[in-house]
Symmetry: C2
């Protein structure tokens, strides 16, 4: 199978969809067109970090204008079925996510409101302590808070995925245990491959896999062995090893692509409004901005390279199809709807559940 | 046909649904149960007056808790199809509306956001001048504003009904003319029957009817001839005369039922935050609170009385079925979806529309 054909398998001409588990680009028509060129069927996009609810709504309003302006390129994704719809109509389905719970403020009622507005992923923490859990850069990880337990149950109820990409080890393990539905780590890599604060221990990855959760492999250089110089082969070999550790069915891509963003944005991501000083996060005083992407992946047209790299690394075609999107599609299908279910003519699932309890 | 059978026709045992075009009760399990007893299939409920966006969202959160708490009595209505679903599952469909545009603040992007959250009606004004139009109690009605024209087009696009119940004559006529989709006056009566500032001229009613709009007849005593002493016969005769003026197909009930509300609520409705003084609105210093309802209609169990009264007033069974809900159902079916249409496998309506322009 040629590289081109492999890219085709992953990029929408075959049965498996091509799905990226996380991007936060400086969105533009150029990038939406690159998604189409790359055959990307669906992307989980970060719409908010430290923004409060009203500011997050303003960000959704901006997406609504893009949906109105480019209906031939993108559409909002709300259910897994929208991925198939996007493919059939030649567009990319955009699923919303938040990298911090700032958008829900201190109000559990906003969980359902945000879900109604299309939010499908929410991190319980960014790098710091939140009202819900501890971030991966806190000195002490005190686990899931009182409110965190309530919010996990509410996220489970409405179908909003718990994303622990930026959380601490204890908080992540507790969230996996407390959540009644599978949890996601949308963008991170194994710490055993590259020991960064944001990468995950084997214990976390195994707990995630054993509960049906998903890991999206990051392409953000600070998460990569050798950073921007990471090779395609090194990255793909790491994926193959992680498939053995976790299972080939619970891994995908979560590129963390921050295309065309100015460095002011990474400063906002890291500092928000929690400090008046500078915090370099994964960067440093000498390297404060966005790092350069690896030369084999810099935009949405390059997912075929990864499919090809996985083939060279010895992964089977069916496992490659899963990694490139099939696994995310299954996870989306299991995750985005209410456990109570929207009432149908067949009955009211919520009532039945309650009566059985 | 007996009174009981007539009530049955209107109350859900026949083909026509029973729909109330506006209520603003102090909601409780008691009232939800009365809706079921009365066979009310759908109600347009006011969820906000002077509240800003965030406060309106808090009100929706409160409704979400009621939907979660009483799934066997009520469900949120989003499309006309939800009325049939509510009937089949023995519940009342609740459709959200706002009596003032405060909820969209000065941000046209909130029109789509509020629609996504379920808002299906929005008045362009309460009694005062708004950013969009003039209210019925302003000395000067300057018509639809610059922003008002933009918001009307946006409401038309997303499927949010323009409700002119509390607007001035000129603003109302202009809204009817400017709107590409039918407009509603959800709760008012003809001024020719009772000359109140809130009731509507024959010119307005005829313009409404000629464009496929809907009038909901109010049962709020300040809108009734002889106020709380209005007779059922007087009310039903008025409906029959208005059917001749407008057509029997564009009229329904909009009870304006404010059941169990304390008088502090009518003060909030009238004064909001626009004055530090008291404004009595339709009331007076001697009668500042909610007026007593007519003895033949005080809660959701009494719609059968109106159906019966219309029969006695000589209205045909099919016209009665229309007035009691069939006409609202048709209007809901025409009004609540986007003109661009959600993309389907058959294509993307928005693109086709644009290309034709």
């Amino acid at each position: 199978m040629s590289t081109h054909e492999l890219a085709g398998v992953a990029a929408g001409s075959g049965k498996a969809p091509l799905i990226d588990g996380l991007q936060y680009a400086n969105w533009s028509e150029k990038i939406f067109r690159q998604m189409r060129e790359g055959g990307v069927d669906a992307v989980h996009v970060t719409i908010t970090y430290h923004e409060n609810f009203r500011e997050t709504v303003l960000n959704i309003e901006r997406w609504n204008r893009w949906f109105e302006q480019f209906p031939e390129l993108i559409m909002q994704g709300r259910t897994a079925g929208d991925i198939a719809l996007a493919r059939k109509t030649g567009r990319t389905a955009i699923f919303f996510g938040s990298q911090n719970p700032s958008c829900m403020e201190d109000d559990i009622g906003l969980v359902e409101i945000l879900h109604t507005l299309g939010l499908r992923f929410m991190q319980l923490t960014y790098n710091n302590q939140s009202l819900l859990a501890s971030g991966c850069y806190e000195a002490v990880d005190s686990g899931i808070t009182r409110m965190g337990r309530e919010v996990i149950a509410e996220m489970n109820r409405v179908g909003l995925v718990i994303d622990m990409s930026h959380s601490g080890e204890r908080s992540t393990l507790e969230a996996i245990e407390l959540s009644a539905r599978p949890v996601a780590i949308t963008h991170a890599n194994p710490a055993s491959w590259h020991a960064a604060g944001r990468n995950k221990s084997d214990a976390v990855l195994q707990a995630l896999a054993s509960t049906g959760g998903m890991l999206g492999f990051s392409l953000y250089p600070h998460h990569l062995q050798h950073g921007s110089a990471c090779t395609l082969q090194g990255y793909c070999d790491m994926i193959c090893r992680t498939a053995e550790l976790m299972s080939p069915d619970c891994i995908g891509i979560g590129s963390d692509l921050c295309q065309d963003q100015p460095d002011s944005v990474v400063e906002w991501m890291r500092t928000g409004r929690w400090t008046k000083s500078i915090d370099f996060g994964e960067g440093s005083a000498s390297e404060p901005g966005f790092p350069d992407m690896p030369d084999w992946f810099s935009d949405n047209r390059h997912f075929g390279q990864i499919a090809s790299g996985l083939k060279n690394a010895g992964m089977s075609d069916s496992d490659i199809a899963g990694v490139m999107g099939g696994n995310w599609q299954r996870f989306y299908a299991e995750s985005f709807t209410s456990t109570e279910g929207y009432p149908t003519e067949q009955g009211i699932p919520g009532i039945q559940q309650r009566q059985q309890q």
